[in-house]
Symmetry: C2
DNA sequence: TATTGTTATACTCTATAACTATA
DNA sequence: TATAGTTATAGAGTATAACAATA
């Protein structure tokens, strides 16, 4: 049988699994689970005007976001403030220690990830990372 | 705040989600769920000498593989034959209709996936696909 | 009445541990 | 005794629906 390239789905799935395996111990060191880190990362970009918006951004529904925020709030990494303009909304934002936690995590995650791409040619690696980033950006919108 | 590239994990996760969303309706048309297709694809490469080996290959444990094989066997897409050399093992292989099903699916999946990369420069796309394939190949070994 | 955030219930999926048959 | 495959039970994770506060 002729050798054929893998499906995109298969490749992405395998690489995601490899990345998760790399990241798991790093996150554990910081006392976080994956979704905690995902939420912190999203909040690192910008404050969330409401929990629903944040849930949409990270690709979960609001009910699954709540226990994550409970955890992060309990350790003072994020704050939920009622929006004065519409008291139904909660504005979610990083605290200062929350941002420090995020930055520290991000550094460790980046070093761990670097291993994954270390074997490939630097020029091609640059193209690869840029395309990956661009494509991911195109598909950041929600189907939860 | 300075714009920074996404984590690899985030990019892979988003793209995987996008791919799954694209593939879902295709698989549904063929009456398959994702894992059915994953198993068919693995068997398309080579017969499995035992179910444990197949489970390892697709990255699940043996107990979760069983209902998948039950489904596929029920519709005559695969066969489980006892290995004469060691009667504890079941050799798993595609049937002829199973291979036809796989080929038909694969074609539809590829066309669906093509949309995802259609916007990017053909030269860079080629590099991207090749690297993706190579990296996925490097990480095909099991941590289930 | 509609919407945000929350809680509670039911459901699905996954992991662990027994069980059968072969070796 | 150990291993391959299977089945059964318990636990985690997810989805759905109801609820309180606000608009």
């Amino acid at each position: 049988m002729v050798r054929q390239r893998h499906d995109l789905g298969e490749s992405f799935a395998r690489l995601l699994r490899a990345v998760i395996a790399l990241e798991q111990p790093v996150l554990e060191q910081h006392g976080l689970v994956m979704w905690d880190y995902v939420v912190l990362t999203a909040l690192g970009q910008a404050d969330a005007p409401a929990q629903a918006a944040l849930a949409d951004l990270v690709g979960r529904d609001t009910t699954r976001l709540i226990p994550i925020l409970d955890r992060l709030e309990a350790r003072s990494a994020v704050r939920r403030d009622v929006d004065p303009a519409d008291r139904r909304n909660r504005i979610v934002r990083l605290t200062d220690p929350g941002r420090q936690l995020l930055v520290a995590c991000q550094q460790d995650i980046r070093s761990a990830e670097a291993v994954l791409l270390s074997d490939i040619d630097p020029g091609e690696r640059h193209i690869f990372i840029r395309l990956l980033d661009t494509l991911a950006e195109q598909h950041n919108r929600s189907r939860k």
